[in-house]
Amino acid sequence: MKVDLNWLQDYVDIDRPLEEIRDLLTEAGLECQIVESGPKVPESVIVGEVLSVENHPNADNLSVCFVNTGEPEPVQIVCGAPNVAAGQKVPVATVGTSLTPEFTLKKAKLRGVISNGMICAEDELGLSEDHSGIMVLDESCEIGKSLNNYLPQTVILDIDLTANRPDCMSHIGVAREVAALTGKPLKIPEITLQETGPDIHSLAQVDVLAADGCPRYTARVIQNVNIGPSPDWLKRRIEAIGLRPVNNVVDASNYVLHETGHPLHTFDYDKLAGHRIVVRYAEEGETFETLDHKERTLSRNVLLICDGKKPVAMAGVMGGLDSEISEDTVNVLIESAYFDPPTIRKGSKQQLLSTDSSKRFERGTDPNANCVYAQNRLASLILELAGGSCAKGMIDVYPKKIEPLSITMRFDRLKKITSLDISPKTCRTIFESLDISVLSMDDQTIHVLAPTFRPDLEREIDLIEEIIRIYGLNKIQANSRLQFSMPETVDSMNPFLNRIREIFMGFGFHEAISNSLVSQDMAKAGIWGYEPVRLMNPLSVDMNFLRTDLIQPLLHDLKLNAARKRQHVRLFEIGRVMEKDPSSETTVREHQNLGVIMCSDMWELHWLQSPAPADFFYGKGMLMRLLDNLGITNISLKTTDFNPNAYHIFMNIMSGKTQIGKIGEYDPEFLNKYQLEYPVVILELKLDEIFKRRKEVFKYKSVSPYPSMTRDISIVVDKNMESETLMKEIYQKGSKFLKDVVVYDQFMDDRKLTPGKKALSYRLWFQSDNRTLEDQDVDRIMEKIFNILIRKYGAQLR
């Protein structure tokens, strides 16, 4: 909201630097900035006084002037203006001034006479088009000062108001705050209204049929006005706050709105059918054309101001075209009403129409003093600006008076919240400075009446806030000793998530954070097959669903990186995915997951090793390392029929019988489409499940001091034999001495092996906890392993 400093000073004296006022207001809750606007000239254009003017010896139309510019010696300047005269205060551009980017003033000889500067006309300074003569300044301008000090400047306080302070949406409201903060009195203009016309009741009639939406409606009529342009002072003021002058009556109405904060409306009295005002709700589907030339279709909750026949205004929001004040208007009806805030808010929202008026009504205006003050203020201003006569009396439909609230504040409560000892006397002063009247007060309590222009003051805590914000919020000092009660629990989720982040960082992955809002296609492609959650009011069609997995957003990120030709994309993200769940309180079930996507080589290009793509087995390796680090046991991968995106490889990750994730690799077809250089491996884990199963403490197991022995075996088995089955068998027969088994080779070549067969090589490590193993110990175990492999799996030794 814009407040013109010059205007503000009508209501409060400001004798401190403006920056101080700005900071005081900001600390008290009216965050504001100082915005200056107006013409500026170079600083070296200064005020001079013409001491003497003589004719130029060599030119008739030039004169030679001596000018006092505050220097010890007067300056000689040749001037061509007809109006230059001794005794004038004039703007002098001194030598060195750049009046335009191309023109810098130098010491010059004009027809043989030296000129040390230039006396300027308005156009030469870029202030106007006027070149009729030099600019003559006011007597009071100080010689030697920069001209900028005397050019008219508009200083605006631009205030970012919070939603709870409708009272400050006006110059008087802000002035009240300044007065309270600086200890100055608030000066509200007095009104003496001459009521010379006939009785108002003989001219107009007001019927309020919707008293809940319009608790108070007042009207005055002014007859025989002369519609015309506003005087300059009024135009300047309303232009300063960004409004466009229209005519004297409309401008006066806007002026009083921004002065008092109470919105008013003026009707052309003669266009009101039956000279009647009827306040009622719209009928469903009723249409009405507002001032902005829009035909509006209304619903039942919109409050209307009507005349004897038809709507003439959307109450508190905007007037209608038919009854607006025009050049031909002779008689004016002024409306000053109090509308119910939620009613105006609903109407304004429904019509997507927010105006200076609706913004104030929906936050809450004053039904009492200010409503009438604004009415009278506008009536007297119209009489002053447009003449005419005011009808006797005011129509005032106010069946149920809204009483101010009386509130009690306890001083010990004030201290309990703020920690400060603020004296009862100081509290009284602060309340009174804010026009909050003090009804009574003792040592413990103060009893006040909250004015109806402050709808935000309802409870004790609201009064405590008033005290502290005026007293000074920053007077509350930090407790030098922090004390707090022991917390009930200590979180272990965040350390768990951080552990996973650190592990993936070590794997050479970048952590991603992607948008939870995705397109319908992405939500439906989710790897879990969840029913997606749709937004009722999305920003756009590509963000109208909540993500159902992390893979689709990561894939989206991969495509962006591919389009930018990034090498080696390795990303992970920890975040929520959403599933529709009508049984949930929020209708949504949220899962905390880890998503991983990889499209890279196993290592970056290097002279020591030729490149090798990181494929499914690289991903499986990371998965196993991660789960091992988190102490998750009994892991198996199971193929699955559910494969929403026709992945090349797609498997469920099981811990026992519970599914804890999915791992896969995209079909190479997919690679062609996006010109990716490497296989795309994906992995998504349900962290809620893993969190439940995690192991945080890894207990000591005995470490053998005796050397280990290794044995290698190579066997030939059927191609479809799973290496893991054989591995399990080897472990079974391996006795307590078998510590580790690794598959270190797989060989498939139908020319060198029997067709349909493959060769697998395992390395086995044996170790005893209490002695050095002998060859024959291990030979015996190997014998058993060979036998079972041959007998049970038809393996042949190679």
Binding site: S516, L517, L571
Partner: protein, 337 residues
């Protein structure tokens, strides 16, 4: 096998073994096997006594020539191996080392984590809440009844009637309080959503950390103390803070908190737009209506709450010009942090 045949066999065996030698250690073994004091050649020499005298000359010559032959080959192999070792010492060690992939944590989770660990040091537990919320938790319980103008301050994405994406982390306050008796001392990090046009300055999703402390006799001075200490720990020991009265329906009195600019230390610079101050969070004393909503007695307990926006402060700290960069996940961006 005659001795002569044995000599030839040893020669053949030596040739095969020789080919397998690739380093000085195995060379040493080879030399000892054949030419050592108990080596194969010595063994052959010791058997010359068994040879008939008429053949001894021939056999002796054959043995000597075998010995010389093997000795020569062993010596020249030694030389070749030595050269190879010398050569290996000429490797160009300016060649780059093996490339280990760089990994990184997202700047936002780094910042959130740093803040959480500071609050952990100040005795706050971490609480979590859903990102999809009910109207009661997101608005009504926080003293934002239906048709309250302050609801306009937060443009909301709706999932259903009365169900929305949370617009702030404050609903975690009332969720937690409905489940726990005071005292309560928690911070709650998380994603929040606003239905605002996406631009360099604003995104439909961002991150907040909510703080809440409720106990007997908690005052604004405790709030100030906690936030001052937090600021010193996060922004550095020189950091100062100041309060500005503000308005949030769920706290009263409410305030915005500014911290002295970390870059210029309050002198004024580009980052703080020459004000010397940066806005970091909103806070206040918990409104009595919030206590009533969760069944706490506002006469019995008091408390403070604060909400800290992470994204903007990370952008200021790391000089990131466009908020969208945080969510593009371009690896060239992510790898910088």
């Amino acid at each position: 096998m005659t001795l002569l045949e044995k000599i030839n066999h040893v020669r053949d065996q030596f040739k095969t073994d020789l080919e397998r030698i690739s380093d000085l250690k195995s060379w040493e073994e080879l030399k000892n096997t054949y030419l050592g004091r108990k080596g194969l050649v010595s063994k052959l020499f010791s058997r010359i006594e068994d040879v008939p005298p008429q053949d001894r000359k021939t056999i002796g010559q054959a043995l000597n020539s075998l010995k010389n032959e093997l000795q020569n080959q062993v010596d020249s192999l030694r030389q070749a191996l030595q050269e190879k070792v010398d050569e290996s010492r000429e490797v160009d060690y300016t060649l780059p080392g093996f490339p280990i992939f760089k990994g990184s944590r997202h700047p936002l989770t780094q910042a959130i984590d740093e803040m959480l660990s500071i609050f952990a040091r100040l005795g706050f537990d971490i609480a979590y809440g859903p990102e999809v919320e009910t109207d009661w938790y997101n608005f009504s319980s926080l003293n934002l009844p239906l048709n309250h103008p302050a609801r306009d301050m937060q443009d909301t994405f709706y999932v259903d009637e009365g169900i929305m994406l949370r617009t702030h982390t404050s609903p975690v306050q009332t969720r937690y309080m409905t489940q726990h008796k005071p005292p309560v001392r928690i911070v709650a990090p998380g994603r929040v959503y606003r239905n605002e046009a996406i631009s360099a300055r604003s995104y439909c999703m961002f991150h907040q950390i909510e703080g809440l402390y409720v106990d007997k006799n908690v005052t604004f001075a405790d709030l100030r103390g906690t936030l001052e200490l937090f600021s010193k720990m996060y922004f550095g020991s020189d950091a100062r803070i100041k309060f500005r009265t503000s308005y949030f329906p769920f706290t009263e009195p409410s305030a915005e908190v500014d911290v002295s600019c970390f870059l210029c230390n309050g002198k004024g610079c580009r980052v703080c737009k020459n004000t010397g101050w940066l806005e970091i969070l909103g806070c206040g004393m918990v409104d009595p209506n919030v206590f009533k909503a969760v069944g706490y007695d506002p006469e019995e307990v008091s408390g403070y709450a604060f909400g800290l926006g992470v994204d903007r402060s990370v952008m200021q700290k790391l000089d990131i010009p466009d908020i969208r960069m945080l969510f593009d996940n371009d690896v060239e961006f992510l790898k910088q942090f």
